[in-house]
């Protein structure tokens, strides 16, 4: 890395490009925001009639941290998959022949996924008052940092997957066999404690579980000790997500370098 300023500029422009395209395509923003809103108000609203509030937390409130987790998961993986698009449309070559390190390309892509995710999380936070959840400045900052960490690690995870994909056909496989199970088995929709044993074991192995649990620690602290509340101490959640981030950051770089 002979010229740090140059590499930083490259990281900036690589993430700027993705963000610009995301904001430009209004339908994409609407589409991505529709999913959590549907879950929250249609599924959450319906289920709230069946499930009594526990520890002062309604079902809709209970799934809100999970919806933030889901939004981050989808946005991050989608953004990372853009590498496959870039390869398909030739644009990746333009990036690969430029005098910048592969490391900067990965960081740029990871920053792109993180900022797109965070943008959506911020939009989602508009619903906090509607849901009757209280959020003070400290909670907001903690939420911002944990979401950011989760987004960065999941984008790196996505880059790791995307650099192994040779065509866009693999996308459905990734969606159905990786992203959807990761979402459903993360404690986003139902308390992990109440899951059948086998599924519970898988859920414990899912890094997203700890990301969502960390958000529950911030947003649903009052329900601690009940099935609706967080399951682990906040520090455990933080440690697992930080570990996941470190591993995916390293592996995404190795994987991209090998594929490129």
């Amino acid at each position: 890395m002979a010229n740090l300023a140059h590499e930083i500029k490259a990281i900036y422009v690589i993430s700027y490009r993705e963000l610009k395209k995301f904001i430009r395509e209004r339908s994409r923003i609407m589409g991505t925001m529709a999913r959590p809103i549907l879950w929250l108000f249609v599924v959450g609203g319906g289920m709230s009639r069946l499930v009594r509030p526990v520890g002062g937390v309604s079902y809709t409130q209970f799934i809100f941290p999970g919806m933030i987790g889901m939004t981050i998961l989808f946005a991050s993986i989608f953004s990372a998959i853009s590498i496959v698009w870039d390869r398909e449309f030739g644009f990746l070559k333009e990036i690969l022949v430029a005098p910048i390190s592969r490391f900067s390309v990965v960081v740029g892509k990871a920053m792109a996924g993180t900022s797109i995710s965070m943008l959506q999380v911020l939009i989602l936070l508009i619903f906090v008052p509607v849901l009757g959840i209280k959020l003070n400045v400290l909670q907001f900052l903690l939420l911002f940092v944990s979401s950011g960490m989760l987004a960065f690690s999941l984008t790196c995870f996505g880059i790791l997957v995307a650099s192994r994909m040779t065509s866009y056909e693999g996308f459905n496989i990734i969606m159905n066999f990786l992203v959807m199970p990761m979402f459903f088995l993360s404690g986003a929709m139902y308390p992990v404690k109440l899951m059948p044993p086998v599924l519970r074991e898988i859920t414990y192995a899912n890094p997203l579980t700890y990301g969502v649990d960390g958000l529950k620690n911030i947003l649903l602290a009052g329900a601690s000790g009940t099935p609706m509340g967080p399951e682990y101490p906040a520090l455990v959640d933080f440690a697992v997500v930080a570990g996941f981030l470190a591993v995916t950051a390293v592996l995404s770089n190795l994987s991209f370098r090998r594929a490129a």
């Binding site: 490259a10 422009v13 490009r17 449309f89 644009f91 022949v97 430029a98 005098p99």
Partner: protein, 323 residues
Amino acid sequence: MSNITVNSLVRKFGAVTAVDGISFSVEPGEVFGFLGPNGAGKSTTISILCTLLAPTSGEASVGGFDCVRDADAVRRSIGIIFQDPTLDNGLTAFENLLFHAYLYGLDRRTARKRIDDALSLVGLSGRKNELVRKFSGGMKRRLEIARGILNYPKVLFMDEPTIGLDPQTRNMIWEFIRELKKNTGITVFMTTHYLEEAEFCDRIAIIDTGRIIASGTPAELKAGLQGDTLKLSAIDPNGLMMEIREKFGMEPKITDGGITLTVKQGDEILPALIKGLSTKITAVSMTSPTLNDVFLSLTGKNIREEGSDPYGPVRSYVRHGGH
């Protein structure tokens, strides 16, 4: 010192040898062409020179830098126009160029100035803020050329720069390359399987199945063939043949309604013939050898002009539909 030096370069893909021990060098300011059919190893060579692909063995250097050991320095000194489009359709022309400028470490002000200059050079100033998605194939190519020269490269690589373009755009791009060469002294390395295009090059190497089978200026290569073909029509072909045999000591062949002659310098002999002959000639024609004739005589086959990439149309359809 040469701007491109390639020594016994080999690249294998499994059992297939795409580039089979080629050596050549390109001098500063030269337009050097790689002429050959598809699958001859042209794009593989370009990929190695652009540091996108490592050679199996042999050496390659660009701008004085080794393509493997000093890849970053090579990248900084080159511009590339790939065979397939590599623009982001979701960005405007300006944004595509700005992206490139930043990747090459230009500062904001320099970038803006060069982008304006480059866009006006390729005649796209008016389309600066339009999405590339709306551009025609020719416009996209021009934009890619503008992008390729943005970092003031020492060497410009062009892989089939005019493939799939209409003749008008093709001419425009050639005119542009000539201007660029005159004004900046840039070295151009291009691949092509269009013979007319190869004629524009200062020097060409003919490549087939991974090997260079001939190289030189287009004129030199053609001079290696027997020469021009003269065709003279006459009412009395036999008389004409006899007269040429007597007066010029040449052996014409009788063909339908006339004679044909193969000579080294047709443009000099033809006027002398017409002047010296008393037999009435009704029509005259002369054909010079083309690079296809050169290729044909060296390999025994034609360079295919069309149907080069069977998946090209499909790919471009997917591109337009999907993005």
